[in-house]
Amino acid sequence: MGWPLRIGRVNFGPTMKDERPPANTLQEFTARQANLSFWQAAGMGLVSPKAVLRIDYRSGVDPTILDAHFAWDNVIYQDLAPLEVPAGMVSIGVGDGDVEIEFETDVPGCPDEDGIQEDVPLVFTGGIVMPNLVAGNILFAFSKFALSDPQNMSIESRDSGGSAAIPFTLTLW
């Protein structure tokens, strides 16, 4: 079972061995290739962000998602429609001056290694927010990130001039 779960090398099966030396390395998939691929995929699965979002956030305007990439939503990649909230996210809005984002508690219909579809818990551990200053803004920007629980988070993104709403890129683990 993969994303949104973080799985280890053991989930990819044992270290593979060649049944016989490959006769044609262009046409035969070797144990070395399999083991390297599994090692890399498993390692990346532990450290990679689960989600990366680019959010437009300006004073007087509700935050909108400009771009979103979720590790578990990888069957087909499509650009978001305007104001679309991507699958897996419940809501994005402003509360107490912060951008508040709520994700689903699980991702439905994740296929396991046997092809059986089941709901998989969606849990975030932390995040990094990078304010993205608009061209021409010569101030510096800073941010705050906090998780109230594994699916709910609040973000502030503001500049040193006092503007309390700066677009930002959010990376979630």
């Binding site: 083991n35 691929s37 890399q40 390692g43 532990l46 932390g126 800073f142 990130f145 502030e156 503001r158």
Partner: protein
């Protein structure tokens, strides 16, 4: 080249594969296209992914500091337990993360690793508190958390290291 902590390029995964024969059954015969795509994506992601991520509570354990979460691309077997990684709390709001000089690859051979860059963020503060991760010195990355009065403060930080 082997895997993490190396960052193997596409060539390390072997040549572009070709089908010995057209796949007869799509869900039972692995095709060259599938293998090549898998290698391409894996090699590409392997170039950009962090090597390690940490969630560290500077105020945890009665102020001694506590690692809450850690993950390493070079440890897909998850053998490094919480508490085993070398992180030192130098003082209030001042933490140093130190990597070993090498870690085993998928064959068990030790591979040198040196941290190159990092990003960090306070997870439980306000917009008046900032985490700064310093340029690596040798195997170590130092992170400090300060407020706008330039005072070091203990907070929980997220640190991603490349």
């Amino acid at each position: 080249m082997t895997g993490f902590p190396n960052r193997p390029a596409r060539l390390a995964f072997g040549p572009n594969m070709r089908n010995k024969r057209p796949p007869a059954i799509a869900d039972k015969d692995l095709s060259a296209n599938q293998v090549n795509l898998n290698f391409w994506q894996t090699a590409g992601s392997g170039r950009t992914t962090p090597m390690a991520v940490f969630l560290y509570d500077g105020a945890g354990d009665g102020g001694l500091g506590k690692m809450l979460f850690q993950a390493f691309a070079f440890d897909p077997n998850q053998l490094i337990q919480l508490g085993d990684f070398d992180v030192v709390k130098n003082g209030t709001g001042d933490y140093t993360f130190t990597f070993a000089t090498n870690y085993p690859d998928e064959t068990g051979n030790p591979i040198p690793f040196v941290p190159r860059m990092s990003q960090s963020q306070v997870q439980n503060g306000g917009t008046t508190e900032f985490a700064s991760s310093f340029l690596p010195i040798g195997q170590s990355i130092q992170v400090q958390v300060r407020n706008t009065s330039d005072t070091l403060v203990d907070r929980t930080i997220m640190l991603a290291v490349w």
